[in-house]
């Protein structure tokens, strides 16, 4: 009986959403748009750790004349890993992917990760929640929500969480903004080792 109770308790707590304690609040969901990186022609020193693999190189963001954004990642010797386009309308085009990496799941994961960091969510269905410390702009996604977490006055972006219904699956930090561009971007998956780390360098 004791084990049954313990198991039931674990099952209940295991199914509890970490976002359960958030309270609905009012405010302007569009306030997070101020944190959208204003990439023009921006270069980052980049490290990617996927399971046991480590890649490093330069990641280049370029705003194109048609307002789409190109993201190109190449190693230090110029050998290209991928070239993605994020269109103005929210679309995605894979212009190039290294054949050895060109798997549907890899492309989908990278797309999702960069979309999170580009901070271009559709805010039509967004709501606001709060806890005692932070404000959460909650944007419904296909399998959960994206949480854009700021201070209570929405003057500082703490981090972003892509979540399942119960817990975060990806976290992203954009920090040390200069002229609208973060000096550092970190993206960390919570359920397996897949980390992307960007540090801005002068082109």
């Amino acid at each position: 009986m004791r084990y049954l109770l313990l198991s039931s308790l674990l099952l209940i707590t295991g199914c509890t959403s970490v976002y359960k304690g958030l309270q609905p609040a009012t405010g302007d969901v569009h306030c997070i748009e101020q944190f959208r990186p204003r990439f023009a022609n921006t270069l980052y020193s980049t490290q990617v750790d996927v399971l046991k693999h480590h890649l490093s190189g330069l990641l280049f963001f370029k705003q194109m004349p048609d307002s789409s954004l190109r993201v190109v990642f190449a190693n230090e010797m110029g050998f290209k890993f991928f070239d993605f386009e994020f269109t103005k309308e929210g679309g995605f085009v894979k212009h190039y992917m290294l054949p050895e990496m060109d798997k549907k799941a890899v492309v989908k994961t990278l797309r999702g990760d960069f979309e999170l960091a580009l901070l271009r969510p559709d805010l039509q269905q967004a709501t606001i929640k709060r806890d005692s410390l932070y404000q959460y702009i909650v944007v419904p996604a296909a399998k959960g929500n994206n949480y854009y977490i700021t201070d209570t006055m929405c003057t500082q972006l703490m981090h972003i969480e892509k979540s399942s219904r119960r817990k975060p699956v990806v976290k992203a930090w954009l920090s040390n903004y200069k002229a609208g561009i973060p000096d550092s971007i970190e993206i960390r998956h919570q359920q397996f080792k897949f980390n992307i780390s960007l540090q801005r360098v002068q082109k």
Partner: protein, 211 residues
């Protein structure tokens, strides 16, 4: 990592090269060139120089320029240290390879790895002046008044997946490679120019330490 090494193998070839096809014609005396190129390569015991790398992103009409230092010592020691826009180190010492970026240092051995052994072969062939006999490439030799241009077209499937061609520009004065241009299948290209070359100076073992 493998692609890195693959490129490195090609770069060794560059230690004696540079390229642009316009204005070049087929070499008149290929046999003499091959002989002189091999002779000069054999006489080169070490190289220390700066390099400038230019990555041309054709679709973006933009380029990324990197700079650093290069060392080579016979028989098979190579070091490339990227200093801008970010730090990156690659050391190849026989079968041992070390890389280091802003976050991590890695060590790899080519022992027992077919691809790495193939790359090692390319490297050694270049250094010893036998690159023209390497069956992984179909080679065309061109020339103008100042330079020889070696157009290397991969016939090996692994190489041709990444490169349309690799051009090496060889200075007629000393048969040393001054620039390499790697043309990717996707339309981009990367050139590496070697500057301020110092040949046959003493380079200590510590420069190529991989442990």
């Amino acid at each position: 990592m493998r692609r890195w090494i693959l490129l490195l193998g090609c770069i060794i070839c560059m230690i004696h090269t540079q390229a642009q096809t316009a204005g070049y014609k087929a070499v008149q005396d290929a046999a003499t060139f091959k002989q002189q190129f091999a002779k000069a390569s054999q006489a080169t015991q070490s190289i220390q120089c700066d390099f400038v790398q230019e990555k041309n992103l054709s679709m973006l009409s933009d380029k990324i320029i990197s700079k650093g230092k290069f060392w080579f010592r016979k028989d098979n020691k190579v070091k490339m240290e990227y200093l801008t826009p970010s730090y990156y180190l690659l050391v190849m010492n026989g079968r041992d390879i070390k890389t280091k970026d802003g976050q991590k240092e890695s060590h790899v051995s080519t022992k027992g790895n077919k691809l790495f052994e193939q790359i090692n072969k390319i490297t050694v062939d270049c250094v010893q002046g036998n690159v023209l006999n390497n069956t992984d490439f179909k080679t065309t030799i061109l020339e103008n008044a100042q330079n020889y241009l070696l157009e290397l077209t991969p016939v090996n499937k692994a190489l041709s997946q990444y490169f349309k061609s690799i051009h090496l520009l060889v200075d007629k004065k000393d048969y040393s490679v001054s620039t390499i241009q790697m043309y990717e299948t996707g339309g981009d290209d990367t050139s590496i120019s070697f500057l301020h070359k110092q040949l046959n100076i003493t380079i200590p073992d510590a420069v190529f330490a991989v442990k």
